[in-house]
Each structure stands twice: as structure tokens, then as C-alpha cells.
């Protein structure tokens, strides 16, 4: 009897192991499912004439076992620093946009899938800007646990300008703010420059700020980044990118002291002979004294005052009297 017991125990252990393996394999916690997104390019700007078609191939990547949806969503500028807010509404112009795939599955995590975007612009269309994002969103994975079902989305902006590109229209805008501190002792000097687009077509902040030292008459120019100023929105303009947390429009004075005049000059487009927009700010004036020079002046002043006080005390001391 005992001879037949050992194989049955081994068989039971084997079956138990198989059962455990199946349980573990089919009962993976959903938490482990990572959701990845990648889209290229990050930004697409198109100027197109009515009745034309434009094709572009996006490169999209994601996680396997997750279903993704690709679709256009209209957006509006959200703030002055280039962030946007996609809208839940679906304006008619989104009907012009088609993607070769609307649902995407990835066979492995590093797979890159090409998705063709086609924009068919009707002949009869209002000549203005239309803004949308190409949105890649993950479908939620259902479960019945107490907690949260997470999903995500990555959005790449598309700036669509519809006009006769051989005869582009004039842009409308203004410099709504240009200023700096009147007294500066720190390098660099920060300027605040905000452009407002009051028209229906975007323009770029191509141009410079011109700074003149009123003592030496020396003029320097600080080029601006040609940032997109979207229709009916404002944009803060910078001359640097890739700063830690906040970019600036900055200028490094080369002298220790100076009285300066600064003007912002915008010309769009910068390279063309056609001038669609030209903006000049009201001049602003400011003083710069280098920090160390300022400290030296203050120290000398402090010594002078101290010496005068000591001299005065000595002259009034009872011993001398």
C-alpha cells in the first residue's frame, strides 16, 4: 500500500504547484500595469490655403496590453507661457482631420506605430487660425476594486493657419507690457515683455530689444525668441529657454554703471521683405549700478560719515576743551 502513496503525494504537490502558477499568472495585480505614451513631433505648425490637403505621419508609442485612442481635440491658449486647454466641445473644423488609425494596440512596449494625419481644408472656409491637439489617450482597464482606475493622455499641439500663403494677410497685435525695474544692481536685468494678438491669425515674436547707454551712446540688441502668439491671446516673450523653473527676457550689462533706454521692436516675419506686423514699444528708462560698485560706494559713504562723527566728537571732547 505504502509503495503507491509516494507517487500520489508527488502528483498532488505537482498539481498544487500548477494551480498556484495559474492563480499567480491570471491574478496579477492591476497596479503593475504601467501606462506609457510617446508622440512625435511635439508641435506642428501649418499654414495652408483653402482647398488644399496636408498629410503628416505621427510616430506614436505606448504600452502593450493597453488600448489607445488617437483623435483631434480643439484647444484654446490657457496662459501667457504657452500652455493650452483642450476643449470638450467638437467644433466643425475637426471634421477636416482624419487619422489612418483611431485605435492603436502595441505588440510590445518599445513598438513605434506610424499614424497618418490628413487635413482636408474645404475651399469655402473662413481665413483664420484653427487650433487642435493630436491626442493619444489610454482606455481605462475595468476592475471591481475599491480605489481608482487611472488613465492618461498625451497631447501634441497643431497650429493650423488658413490663408492664401502666396498673399498672407496682415497680423494685428500690440505690445501690452514692456517694463523693467527703474533701479537695477543685479545681473542680468530682467524685462517683462507681453505681446497681445488681437487678430485671427498667429504671429511670431521675431524681433529684439534695443538698449542704448545714454552716457556712452552705445547700442546693444538682444534678440527675442520667435514664440507663437496665437490669435486672441497674450504671450510673455523671452530670449532664453531651458531654465530651471522660469524663463526670462534678460540682458547682461557690460558696464559697471549706466543710464539706459530700452525699446522692444517686433517685425513679423523676420526674414521676409513682406511686413505683416511691426510693433515698437514706448521707450523705457532705467539705471544700472553694479552690485560691488554699489557696495563700495555705500562703504565709502559709511566711512566718511563715521570719520566725520569721530572728528566732531573729538572736537567737542571735554579734555580738548
Amino acid at each position: 500500500m505504502k509503495r503507491y502513496k509516494t507517487p500520489s503525494i508527488i502528483f498532488a504537490i505537482f498539481m498544487l504547484t500548477i494551480a498556484c502558477y495559474i492563480f499567480m499568472a491570471t491574478n496579477n495585480p492591476i497596479k503593475a500595469e504601467q501606462i506609457n505614451f510617446q508622440i512625435d513631433p511635439m508641435l506642428l505648425q501649418i499654414e495652408i490655403k483653402p482647398g488644399s490637403q496636408f498629410n503628416y505621419e505621427y510616430k506614436v508609442s505606448g504600452s502593450k496590453n493597453i488600448e489607445y485612442i488617437i483623435q483631434p481635440k480643439a484647444f484654446i491658449p490657457k496662459d501667457k507661457i504657452g500652455n493650452l486647454k483642450s476643449l470638450n466641445e467638437t467644433p466643425d473644423f475637426l471634421d477636416w482631420i482624419d487619422y489612418s488609425k483611431t485605435e492603436i494596440y502595441f505588440n510590445n512596449d518599445k513598438e513605434i506605430i506610424s499614424v497618418q494625419m490628413k487635413i482636408n481644408v474645404p475651399i469655402e472656409v473662413e481665413l483664420k487660425d484653427y487650433y487642435f491637439v493630436t491626442s493619444v489617450s489610454s482606455k481605462e482597464i475595468e476592475n471591481n476594486q475599491t480605489g481608482n482606475i487611472l488613465s492618461g493622455e498625451i497631447q501634441s499641439p497643431v497650429l493650423l493657419t488658413i490663408e492664401d500663403i502666396s498673399k498672407p494677410s496682415a497680423r494685428n497685435g500690440k505690445i501690452s507690457s514692456f517694463n523693467t525695474n527703474f533701479f537695477n544692481s543685479q545681473k542680468p536685468i530682467n524685462f517683462d515683455l507681453v505681446l497681445e494678438n488681437t487678430g485671427d491669425l498667429l504671429f511670431k515674436s521675431s524681433g529684439y530689444i534695443e538698449i542704448q547707454n545714454l552716457i556712452t551712446k552705445q547700442i546693444t540688441k538682444e534678440n527675442l525668441l520667435p514664440q507663437n502668439v496665437l490669435a486672441h491671446s497674450s504671450r510673455q516673450i523671452f530670449n532664453t529657454t531651458q531654465t530651471d523653473k522660469y524663463p526670462y527676457l534678460t540682458w547682461y550689462p557690460e558696464t559697471l554703471f549706466g543710464i539706459f533706454k530700452a525699446e522692444a521692436k517686433i517685425k513679423y516675419p523676420s526674414t521676409s521683405t513682406v511686413n505683416l506686423l511691426e510693433l515698437n514699444s514706448v521707450p523705457i528708462y532705467f539705471i544700472y549700478i553694479d552690485f560691488y560698485l554699489l557696495i563700495l560706494i555705500l562703504t565709502l559713504f559709511f566711512f566718511l560719515v563715521t570719520i566725520i562723527i569721530f572728528k566732531n566728537r573729538r572736537s567737542y571732547s571735554p579734555l580738548q576743551r
Binding site: 504601467q34 500652455n83 471591481n144 487611472l150 493622455e153 499641439p157 529657454t241 569721530f310
Partner: protein
Amino acid sequence: MQKKVLIFILLLAFIFIFSFKRAKAFEAQSENFRLDWGNLNDFAGQKSSDNYSLVDTGGQIAPGLYESDGFKAMIGFEYLYSIIPFTFTISNSAIDFGTLSIDTPKTDTTNLIVTSGAAHGYQVTASENNQLDNLAYPGTYIEDTRGDNLDITYLNNGDWNINTTYGFGYTLANITGTDAEFTSGYKQFSDESNSEPEQIVMNNIGITQGSEVQVTYKINIGATQESGTYQNRIKYICTGTF
């Protein structure tokens, strides 16, 4: 005596000048990522129109700029050539708090990771479809927390340390970088069903590689909470700047 005083003042002034740390502003522009416009007269075979196909007859007149009779297209930022891809990772697709006990808070986490080559950065927003809802009795909620001082909303972060403060909320911590919108106290997720606009949880106004923020979810229930399975949906949206 007066000489000694003068020497002392001079010494003080000397220490003052040289120990004074100058405030430094950032000049973090990197030449690795900046590229002036050139005229390469080259192409990449991705762009076409019905009037014109760039692959056959046209070209790239500058990095990222393509032109034909019918359109002009610019890919990326003309003043910044970046090879950094735009990626976004959510570390998990669900949060399972398991069985909840009265007056015993539970937490769980999600890590958000972003790499962005956009000239002016990115932002990640978050929102919930509604408060944690009872699957068997819809409309019975574990409400979003108000915090220990009743000051927590989807806009304001506040303290939540007491075990008799109930509800659901989240806080943020920087793992890599400093992109978390706040790092102290807790907030409610903005509630779409209540028309609350999605809120920024993570952002940067520059190029970033592998910025990582940890979202910690916290839940706590009281004795009056209806038993059952409660669930909601949280959505994170990562957007590049224009």
C-alpha cells in the same frame, strides 16, 4: 582707542562686502539645444499635399520647415532643435485600497514621469470623474476630504494628519526634479461631475528629461460610511507647450 574702533569698523565692512552672497539669476540657455535657421535644401519624406509632394519635388528649406504651393509646415520649434522625445509614463493603471477599516487611513502611490523637449516645457493635469462612488449604490460617495482644518479643496492644499478626518485626497512629492505643483499637505482632485477644471499636478517651463513626481492617494472612512466597493476614475493629461 579711536584707532582700534576704526580698525574694527574697517574689518566689519570688509567682512560685510566679501561675505555678501550675490543673488544669481539663471542663464541656463544650452547651446546643445539651440539651432539657428539655415538653408539645408534637404528633405525628409513625411510631408505631402495634393498639389505637391515633398518627397518627389520639394525640400526642407530649414530644419523642420517644409514648403509647397499649397502649404507651409513647421515641425517643432524653429529656435530650438531638440532630439528629446515627448514621453509620459503613469506607473500603474489602478489603485486598490483593499478593505478599509474605520479611522485607519490607507495610502497608495502613482509615479508620473515626463520627458519633454518642448521649448517652453509641459504640464500634467489631473481630474476625477466623480467622488469615490459605491458601485452597488451609485450616488453614495466617500467624499473628497476637507482636511483637519476644513480648508482643503481642489484648489487649496491643507493639513490632513488626524485619523478622524475622513475622505479621499492626494499629495505630491518630487522624486526627480522639482516639477511637483505642491509638496505639502493634501488636495482634492478636481471633480468633473461638479464642473471643476482639471488642475496642474506637474509642470516645467523648460526642457526636461525624466522629471518624476509621486502622487500619494489617501483614504479614510468613518463609522457611518456605507459598506461596499467604491470607485472613481482619475485622468492625467500631459500637454506640450506651443
